[in-house]
Amino acid sequence: MLSEREINYLRMPRWQKPFWRLGQGLAAIPKGFGRFFAGIGRGIAGFFKGVGENIADIGRTFKNGNAVTKGSFVVMGLANMCRGQFLRGLLFLLMEAVFIVYMITTGGYWLSMLPSLGLVGPQEEYDLILDTYVTTYHDNSFKILLYGVLTIFFIIAFIVTWRMNVKQAKISQEMIESGHRLKSSGDDLRSLVDEGFYKTLLALPLTGILIFTVMPIVFMILVAFTNYDGTHDGYFNSLFHWVGMENFNQVITWGSGSTVYSATFGEVLTWTLIWAFFATFTNYFLGIFVAMMINKKGIRFKKGFRTILVMTIAIPQFISLLYVSKMFAKNGIVNGFLMDMGWITTALPFWEQANWARITIILVNIWIGIPYLMLVATGILMNIPADLYESARIDGASPWKQFSKITLPYMLFITGPYLLTQFTGNMNNFNVIYLLTTGGPTNPAASGASGAVGYTDLLVTWLFKITTGAESKYYMASVVGILIFIVVAIITLIVYNFLPSIKNEEDFQ
């Protein structure tokens, strides 16, 4: 049975339907955000509830525990060792020993310095022996922040381990009291290649991600709230310290910051979104189009055409990008050819004028991107059941009808998530922009915003320019990085609320 809403939709005049659908989609945005924030709220509430339950459970364990279980509260792993699980007990004890030694020797220092990020910077001191002033170095803000973050990570890890230790003490006591056998150290080791094999497999990848992604991201987020830059490197020239929201105020003028950064941010963000939109959808539709042409019945040399396009994927992108960028230069091949043919008298400003550069970039990106999309589309097109087209043909559907009613909906449904990753990937497409134009032509209005910001700069290339620029304003780079994250996250959230093809993961299996 159709609902009344659906009947109303079917009754609508044709032209009204797309608007109605768009309206429905837009109306769903606030709901999506509502769900999102409700989810965050639930998550936070769940976290505190979990903490409360854990504390209650720890209390119960202490109350009901025998001497050995109680002893485990102080000497980690005691219960395990007394009850025959030597390996686990030893690991717990080792963790405790390392933690205590670390905190006493260095951890405590880093933690105590974290609020100030260093008290004494480099000093000019008189050296009696050399009879001159020499610079002596003292606190190192960079190291304080880095090791401070690491110490906090370590403390959290210790608390989690301690909780595990208490839990195991409780469980092992209960099992012994009810007459069950405990897992021996041998059982634990065997489990690592069997039931617990995932722990073995994940150990290396997750360690890498923790050290090389999570830790740096936490560090860089914190940098956004300091004044860490080329002139405050934290050790050699000057300490850096916490500045609160000041850096964000400069980019988003809710405070009284200078307007250079906020104006530049607005411009760069706008172009980033325009670029991502065109780069994604031109490639997508043209890629499908090319794939359909090659796949069409009766077209020969399918393999040849496909191979020519695929070959361009194989050649490292930096070569093609750098070469094409020079082809379109003022004295490059393209201008040379056009002038030889007598079609133009002065060189076309492909890279010299803002709009020329922007359009050229999008065109070159089509050249780069079509082969990928052609491959993707070919694979999917072949999966569309042929009888769909067969029955459409019998019903007299025109090729355009077949495309718009069968091919396109099918493609969009299947590749929805892929389109999203393409879009966010294009927003952060450093190579295409930087190797083609290095962000140029320079935008004179943005000269105050660290580095020569140009009309084709994306947020990421701007970020790169800020860090490698003369002033090395790392704090600004990290503010821009955080803003990129926020923009990408918002887009992802909105799209995920629309996509029909976010299916249950288990359905695939």
């Binding site: 290649v193 069997d194 094999f197 994940l202 990848p205 997750l206 890498g208 991600i209 090389f212 992604t213 999570v214 740096p216 991201i217 560090f219 940098v223 090319v290 042409m293 009766g298 191979t307 020519i308 695929v310 070959m311 361009t312 194989a314 050649i315 490292p316 930096f318 070569i319 093609s320 750098l322 070469y323 020079k326 082809m327 004295n331 091949i333 002038m339 030889d340 050249w367 082969p371 990928y372 491959l375 070919t378 694979g379 999917i380 299947i414 590749t415 929805g416 892929y418 450093f430 190579n431 190797l435 970020l463 790169f464 860090t467 790392y474 990085g481 990129i484 994250f485 990408v488 299996q509």
Partner: protein, 291 residues
């Protein structure tokens, strides 16, 4: 079939229209092939140009020769080439192991932290990777793995977080029936044996795809290599090195050498890629379908 004649007629009309549309398609495809191939033909031609080393508005050399290729020997080019090759080799080996560990685990095991872990990695992936470069550079510098010694530093950076790129191969493992695992488990195989003896032999396409993409990545990486090598010519990879030849002060003496270097870089990678093309295509389409 009462409508026989009309159908027939329509069919004949279609073939005439079909022939026309096929001709149009051939023209479009041939023009496209030319456009897509032209830059590569041009770069090869210019790499053989002898009469001048700077950028010119014409393509066809007036004098052909191997001068530019020979001149590469006097520069750091082969050093960059070796750097890149070593990096690519190590990255291909280690990254493949890490990606396979990660994707197999997330596809097959159901443990408590699985969903939170995947969501967490999704969120981490939304941060621009370049952001982490600032601190990694300074930490690696303290460890002596930047500038002249950029090679080990770069290998570390490439492989360390590669576990986050598990999507394509997880999609592959998801399509391998779970019944296989269960049958082997009933016969007494451990989880490790299942992976080693049953899944891995079946996973050849995805293993080759992972190796291929991991190997090709370092040849084209610009930003990380540029950051870690930080103006030291000894630590550059081909991308950073050749790009430095196109800067204003060098382009006039190095442009044709850039072309020659580009050709030398492209040939082995392209050959490798064309040989393993089938696996690449499978991986790319599979990855796009499953998101």
């Amino acid at each position: 079939m009462s409508s026989g004649p009309t159908l027939e007629k329509r069919h004949m009309g279609m073939t005439a229209a079909n022939r026309l549309s096929n001709t149009v398609i051939y023209i479009i495809l041939i023009v496209m092939s030319i456009i897509w191939l032209a830059p590569f033909v041009f770069i090869v031609m210019q790499s053989f140009r002898v009469e001048s080393t700077w950028m010119t508005g014409y393509v066809m050399p007036q004098k052909w020769g191997f001068d530019n290729y020979i001149a590469l020997g006097k520069t750091d080019f082969w050093h960059w080439y070796t750097n890149t090759f070593i990096i690519a080799l190590f990255t291909a080996a280690l990254q493949t192991v890490i990606v396979l560990c990660m994707s197999y685990t997330l596809s097959r095991f159901r443990f408590k932290m699985r969903q939170p872990l995947m969501k967490f990695m999704l969120i981490l992936g939304l941060f621009p990777g370049m952001l982490t470069m600032i601190i990694l550079y300074r930490v690696l510098k303290d460890l002596g793995m930047t500038q002249d010694n950029a090679v080990p530093g770069l290998i570390l950076v490439y492989i360390a977080s590669s576990g986050m790129g598990y999507y394509v191969s997880k999609g592959f493992f998801d399509t391998v029936p779970k019944a296989l695992d269960e049958a082997a488990r009933i016969d007494g195989a451990t989880r490790a044996q299942v992976l080693w003896k049953i899944i891995l032999p079946m996973a050849k396409p995805i293993v080759i795809y992972t190796i291929l993409t991991a190997f090709m990545g370092p040849w084209g990486d610009f930003v990380f290599a540029r950051y870690i090598s930080m103006n030291s010519t000894a630590g550059m990879n081909v991308a950073v090195g050749l790009q430095s030849w196109l800067t204003l002060d060098q382009i006039n003496s190095r442009y044709t050498m850039f072309c020659a270097g580009g050709v030398i870089v492209a040939i082995p990678v392209t050959i490798l890629f064309m040989c393993l093309q089938r696996y690449y295509v499978e991986g790319v389409t599979g990855g796009a379908v499953k998101g």
